[in-house]
Amino acid sequence: MSLANPLGLLLLVSLPIIVLLHLFRQERRRREVSSLYLWREITDEHSRRMRPRLLRNINLLLQLLAALCAALALAHPVLDTRTASGAPELIVMIDDSASMQSSSGGVSRMELARNYAREAIGRAPRNARIMLASAGPRPAIVHAFTEDRARLYELVRTLQATDGANNLPDALDLVRGLGVGERVDIVLITDGAVSLPRGVELPANLEIANIVDRVGVDETAANRAITGFELRARPDGAAFEVLATVANYDEAPASVEFRLSADNEALSTRTLELDSEEERTITAVVPRDRGTLFLAELLGNEDALSVDDRAYAAAAGERPVRVQLVTAGNLFLESFLSIYPNVQLAVTESVDQSQDFDVLILDRVPAPARLRGNVIAFGTALPDGPFTAEESAAVERTITSRAGHPIVRNVRLEGARIGEAVTGTLDPRASVLASAGEMPLLYSYRTETLSLVASTFALTSSDLALRGDFPVLMHNILEWLAPIAPTGEVGYAEVGSIVSLYVPPGEEIVIIDPDGTSRRYTPQTSPFEFARTTRVGFYEARGESFQSRFAVSLANSGESDVRPRLANLATETATTQPVDAPGRALWRAFALAALLLLVADWVVWARRH
């Protein structure tokens, strides 16, 4: 805002004159508070001496305001609504998460959001540039800044609620990434069924338009949902353990019928009596031969949201992890690897590169040059690897491990005894996971063609294999290296997340989504990152030499609790206040305000006398 006639502000000298005319002291009332701790911090010097006189009565306030408005009217203020880019800008962000599929006041929340978005776009200044964004499971810019209202209306009309949970923090990060900072107002249109992670702060320029609050419908939004569904192989490999969590987000107890099926065949059906706000986990043990595609359902469940009445999980790890153990003899490693339910172990005395393997373990054997893939090497240095061996030396220093690295998570190597290890030079690109002083003992190394975890000592020269930490270490290494979990832990992907498919590079594959839509891809690298996980259900990926099923589920307690929690942060959003065209003079508004204030002052005075 600029002033066309700054001299008009000279009228502000009338303010102290009015104050002087009203000065007098007033008796104070006593009021007990729990503690003066926070009140005392307030600087009240000004309050004690000046405010009683300033704020003596309503007439004084009205007169001061009238004088202020008159001064501003004389100064001829001109409103400049243009930003540095030349026009006002606004981001309209729509929450298109699964909870928006439910209804409020008989209308779908997504429809209410679309209506509000149209209003917000319509109320923006004529020359405003507006961006449309979504804050669902995969936050996205639906359309970049534009003045083309027709295009925006068309896009708003086509927006649909997804099957996934909202992701407000990522949506805000996405907008922040555009570098708009806080100069552009963001209007988030949501149903308020949002659970913000701890520590996430909403920016000052974000204004929340809660469409449920706006409708003013006082409804409980009762919902019963499957909020967790996990499938994992038992360690003995004989069966799957299924864990399903059912929740009742209602103020009243509820009775729900829960059914678990595998490969379209019902395994069990039971009725659950759930208290208000209760979450219950149901476990079941299912023999492996009963199926690989698992479905948990709430039957006949008439509630606010239906997408969470079903949860899907798939035993995707049908193909075992193929491990080739090259050793002159290590009974411990052999027995240990054979107990993994999903490991197919081949023991050889030299590396057989004619066989495909997911993980190659070298135990004190010479390694061939130019190895590719996932390799674990105990007491073996790869000829073209990151470690150049020099000589053997006794390990005398205390062992320290690198905290936080996934390979040594929950592993305590500090107490292990290692007789001797090989000294040498390690490529700085390798990560040292454990060392004794300057001597690396365990390291990891990753290039485009090779993933390696190696020790500079032989297992036989240490007590590591006898310690309780060893199975955990091996498990961590296999998880870090192998594309398929060695324990066969399987389940589902969240809506909007990326699913890694280990397909042969260059082979054409077809992915069929739960709606039956097929899409063709020819990935050039493996794994192929599939991102179109927009709907819940079972997906199928097929190629000439490849077939896989995977599941996508909502199973999110925050999303299934569809009651609004994120309230309006401001009653008036930027878009609900029509902004005048740039450069509009405001003196008439101030003059009118001054006049009205004087009339009010007279009315108050007249009623008192």
Binding site: R51, P235, D275
Partner: protein, 293 residues
Amino acid sequence: MAAPLLDEEFLRKLEKLSLLARKVRSGPSRGENISINRGASLEFSDYRLYQPGDDFRYLDWNIYSRLNRLFVKVFTAEENLTVHILIDTSRSMSFGNPSKLSYGGRLAAALGYLAVNNLDRVGVSAFAEGVEHSLPPVRRTSHAFTIFDYIASLKPSGRTDFSRTLRDYSLRTRRAGLAILITDLLDPGGYEEGLRALLYRRFDIMLIQVMDEDELEPRFKGPLRLIDGETEEETELNVEPDTVTEYQNRLAGFFGRIEEFCLDHDIEYLRTSTRIPFEDVVFSYLRRGVFVR
């Protein structure tokens, strides 16, 4: 006869919940038949047969390779959770209607009942300038009624000295465990030192701050002489809308610093107002904050 602290129906609902200490929360059990004797300290105690839902990390692979049967390791901490409930009974807690002390007392009674029901060892202490009275930790189901009687007898008095109280408490307590603090935290001396003293003694802390609605949104205005309920100190202030705004800003800053401190020090923190129905706090807010399951 005074109205009971918690009615029977409420107690029945409580029996379905269990109190979560951080260690227990990260523990191995996750199935339907969760044992009450669970925990994850590093003090190994025993083995038991694997149950569906147990965490694979606690499987003993060595035993499996020898016996071909699955066993999980059990730790001693799971048998020994001690819950220390500390209620602030300083005069500032008498503020409001219902008073913060009455509200906090019911909260303490509910959490105490929950812990007793889980066969945890539960002690309750009232504090202001120091620990005024204590009910030593006991593991016995009938202890719940002793706790209720004790809480019902609490009367507000004295000034708060949070840091000294918690420091003394941490020093004189032999068995650390889960400390549930119910207080308004309105202590000019600060709360950090006291909480650090508990953390240093390896307490797992749940901090529940109880505020009255009048403290959050003061409804008085005009030229006033404000009197401190604890110290009876007075100060003159003209409470105008902007003064209230400034107060609320400072209050928000105060809350923000507490949240930040708790986040940094891994302390579970819940702020509640006496206006929020007590049952909602127990069944909804405490659950969302992962205090109880």
